[in-house]
């Protein structure tokens, strides 16, 4: 059996930095009776014989990874795990960040099914490796989608676009590129942000700092704090911006506020890195949801853009996305693209074919594109309607507090403002599942379950402070 020290190491909470891992595992290794690692000096006069080495795989403690601790459960996925275990017939899952229909079912868009069928029925279609940069047609269409077909950056060939694995993959490839080729190694991310952002950028080799974003008092934007923090960032720092439908708060700057942010950033040469995971999904309009991005492109400056088709095309598991880098000139864009390949090749060689093929099929066919915009608007409208219904339900119950943020916030998520005790209470008494920061996924609501949620919030707010 593993020694007490090894068990202790395994029981420790996962340290947040790799150097702690290293110190821990080094310490534990010294305490183990035998170690597979030796210095070369020791190896030179080792008298290890066949008999002294465990020959059966079942021998305990022979793995080089024996000291490794189990990673903590992912906080977001953990919510669904708990929900699945709950036998209550009235349970509601507001943790998941995937769209659900009114019946609570996942949705594959009709236009996606059609595109899939077309691909299957095309026998001449080949499934070879894509180029490192992905499907060329997909890349062009994606850039047009986010920047606008008439975008000067595209007309001037200043955009380098590479297909990546959804938003995560695009962020990671962009982060790695910046760590290698950009002279500033610090990225500022909003407080709060999607839980995976800090890890993506840290592993890319960047230093992560945050700027104020959410104001708990108003449940809206801390605009003053945001401007102050970006003003005091060192020149040329990288700044992560959620293009629309901020995750997890649902709080977006207004167009005027975006303009002020743009001016400030350009005056300090701060490099924008946009994360666009909800284009079309937030307001129902693809162009409207891209306004913030296009504003920055219009001033002729450079930026990075991570695009995801997980939600707006419902392609979640197919991992479809694109990283675009808008550069100062066409020459630079060519060189940048060549260097992006060097990041991608040792990571996974080339991106997956299926999802990108579906997207390209849809985007290049005007009839299918239109059908997509209608289905997209329907999803966005259902979510907006859920917001309204929840707000109305709380109002009609006379629930104390200002709940207007529910209809002011936008996108899949609402930061309710509930504290972790209230969240736990709602799980316990009402079988409502959400992340402990009070974030609810509006996509998990339906007309049927809104009253139940409103009751739960009402109870939590009146019984616990």
């Amino acid at each position: 059996m593993a020694s007490a020290s090894v068990r202790a190491a395994q029981a420790q909470p996962q340290p947040k930095d790799p150097s702690a891992d290293r110190r821990l595992s080094t310490l534990v290794r010294h305490l183990l009776p035998s170690s597979p690692r030796r210095t070369s000096a020791e190896a030179a006069d080792t008298s290890a014989t066949l008999e002294s080495f465990p020959t059966m795989a079942s021998q305990q403690g022979s793995s080089v990874f024996a000291t490794l601790a189990q990673a903590p459960e992912d906080p977001i996925l953990g919510v669904t795990v708990a929900y699945n275990k709950d036998p209550s017939p009235v349970k509601v899952n507001l943790g998941v960040g995937a769209y659900r229909t009114e019946e609570g079912k996942p949705l594959v868009l009709n236009v996606v099914r059609r595109a899939e069928q077309m691909l299957i029925n095309n026998p001449s279609r080949v499934k070879e490796y894509l180029p490192i940069t992905g499907l060329a047609e997909f890349n062009k269409l994606s850039a047009k989608l986010i920047f606008g077909a008439d975008s000067p950056a595209i007309q001037e060939n200043r955009v380098a676009t590479v297909q990546c694995l959804s938003g995560t993959g695009s962020l990671r490839v962009g982060g790695e590129f910046l760590a290698r080729h950009y002279h500033e190694r610090t990225i500022y991310i909003p407080q709060p942000t999607w839980g995976n952002h800090p890890k993506v950028f840290t592993l890319s080799g960047l230093t992560v700092r945050s700027y104020r974003y959410y104001d708990p008092a108003t449940r809206g934007l801390d605009f003053k704090g945001l401007l102050e923090d970006l003003s005091s960032a060192p020149l040329a720092s990288i700044v992560l911006l959620h293009a629309c439908a901020h995750n997890p708060t649902g709080v977006d700057p207004t167009i005027d506020q975006w303009e002020q942010i743009r001016q400030l950033m350009r005056s300090k040469s701060l490099l924008p890195f946009f994360d666009s995971a909800y284009q079309g999904f937030a307001s129902g309009s693809l162009d409207k949801d891209a306004q913030s991005v296009r504003m920055f492109v219009a001033d002729g400056g450079e930026l990075l853009m991570a695009q995801s088709y997980a939600k707006n095309m419902g392609l979640y598991g197919e991992r479809v996305g694109a990283l675009s880098i808008v550069c100062g000139s066409a020459d630079v864009a060519v060189k940048v693209e060549s260097q992006l390949k060097l990041v991608i090749r040792p990571m996974y060689s080339n991106p997956p074919l299926h999802g990108a093929s579906i997207v390209a099929t849809i985007l290049k066919d005007s009839e299918m594109f239109n059908e997509w915009t209608l289905e997209l608007k329907a999803m966005a409208d259902r979510i907006i309607s859920m917001r309204q219904q929840l707000f109305d339900a709380l109002k009609s119950r006379g629930t104390p507090g200002d709940w207007s943020h529910i209809i002011k916030q936008i996108g899949m998520f609402t930061f309710t403002g509930l504290n972790s005790e209230q969240v736990a209470f709602m799980r316990q008494e009402y079988h409502i599942y959400m992340t402990s920061d009070g974030r609810i996924s509006m996509a998990g609501l339906s007309m049927r379950t809104v009253p139940h949620l409103a009751d739960a919030i009402h109870a939590a707010v009146t019984q616990l402070k």
Partner: protein, 402 residues
């Protein structure tokens, strides 16, 4: 217009993928592509396996596209482990294998390299000379120091077995080694079963960690069980291996990026811990792996009829390549080449290390519009009954004065 990225250098072209780019740009009707390692049928056409087409028909319209778990498709992982470790493997029964779905072989190697860096930061990786060029890039980007070990013997165009064994013995105890499970890329030179046993024995003495890259299971000999023999020898000897599996070639799933990374652990608890940590490395890279390829793999391997069809088709591919090796060698002999071409049929898998120099390869390209990587590696999958004579003639022309 001013740019923050004006100083960025244009990156050198990828040596392997760059070959196909050049081939595509060539207007000559005689051109032959024996560069990239993707299978071609005897008409020089890419192939989608029948079992894959059928699997896709079954999948389309019936599945949703929700996120897979971070570790990927459980069903696909289960089938992959059976394929690599054996249907009745005790390690599978005892749940001792930590495994995650990965982005084909590249992604599996990269996850392992990142894992090695995070949890065994003082280790390095020994990589055979030569190897698939991207292996060096993978471990470099993971910041794991690399060393090389002797492998290929240029004079015999075979294995430098004594050099290999010396390097194994001289490496510090507990070193990490990258081994090609079968059909070594780029040489096609594999150790014999006897030699694998000796290597495994020496690994035990030295307590080395064997990491297998298995990109050609089934594709090398035509028999998946036979192609996994090296791994089984090591498992029988008590090694706790790591393994990168790819479905790019053997299932023809190239662009779907379907693969699996597995690590054999002491026990179930450790396997759970290791898997959780592998997931933590995948999460900030791509969150969760792509669905489509995983569905195809699990649909085929879990259905007896489809699996039988697959076994037939993969054998067909392997047999065609073995046939082309024979044809190329015979053609060269008939042309009266002064050199020995035994290695063409001694070597196995998709690639043949011809022994030609970069200059000779350049001549093949310029004069004969034949495209291959400059290390003289020929992708036998690109050889057909239609072009083998032309290819043999060209090779003869550039090498006859050797």
């Amino acid at each position: 217009m001013a740019s923050w990225f004006g100083h960025v250098e244009p990156a050198p072209k990828d040596p392997i993928l760059g070959v196909t780019e050049a081939f595509l740009a060539d207007p000559s009707p005689d051109k032959v592509n024996v560069g990239v390692g993707a299978y071609r049928d005897d008409n020089g056409q890419p192939v989608v396996l029948e079992c894959v087409r059928e699997a896709e028909r079954r999948i389309a319209g019936s599945m949703n596209m929700e996120y897979l778990p971070m570790g990927g498709s459980v069903k696909m992982i289960d089938e992959s482990l059976k394929l690599a470790y054996g249907e009745d493997s005790d390690f599978i029964k005892d749940k001792r294998i930590a495994a995650v779905q990965a982005l084909s072989g590249t992604g599996a190697c990269r996850l392992f390299a990142d894992f090695q860096k995070r949890f065994l930061p003082d280790t390095q990786i020994y990589i055979p000379t030569p190897t698939w060029a991207n292996h060096h890039n993978i471990w470099r980007d993971a910041h794991v120091p690399q060393r090389t070990f002797t492998y290929y013997h240029p004079e015999s165009r075979g294995l430098d077995f004594s050099g290999l064994m010396d390097d194994i013995k001289n490496a510090p105890d507990g070193s990490f080694f990258l081994l090609h499970a079968c059909a070594h890329n780029p040489t096609g030179v594999d150790p014999s079963e006897e030699q694998w046993r000796e290597i495994s024995h020496q690994f035990k003495v030295k307590k080395h960690f064997p990491f297998f890259d298995m990109a050609y299971q089934g594709f090398a000999s035509g028999d998946p069980e036979r192609d996994a023999k090296a791994i089984h020898i090591f498992l029988e000897d008590g090694h706790q291996v790591g393994c990168a599996q790819s479905y790019a070639k053997n299932l023809g799933l190239y662009g779907q990026r379907a693969g699996c990374l597995s690590v054999l652990c002491d026990d179930e608890m450790q396997a759970v811990a290791v898997k959780s940590q592998l997931q933590q490395l995948a999460r900030p890279m791509y969150s969760n792996p792509p669905l489509h390829g995983a569905l195809i793999v699990s649909t085929i391997l879990s259905d007896p009829e489809l699996k039988t069809l697959w076994l037939k088709e993969v054998k067909g591919m392997a047999d065609r390549i073995i046939g082309m090796r024979k044809a190329l060698k015979e053609n060269l002999e008939e042309l009266g080449s002064p050199l020995s071409w035994e290695h063409i049929t001694n070597q196995i898998g998709m690639f043949c290390y011809s022994g030609m120099t970069p200059e000779q390869v350049d001549r093949l390209t310029k004069e004969f519009h034949i495209y291959m990587t400059r290390n003289g590696r020929i992708s036998m999958a690109g050889v057909t009954t239609g072009n083998v004579a032309y290819l043999a003639n060209a090779i003869h022309e550039v090498t006859k004065s050797n």
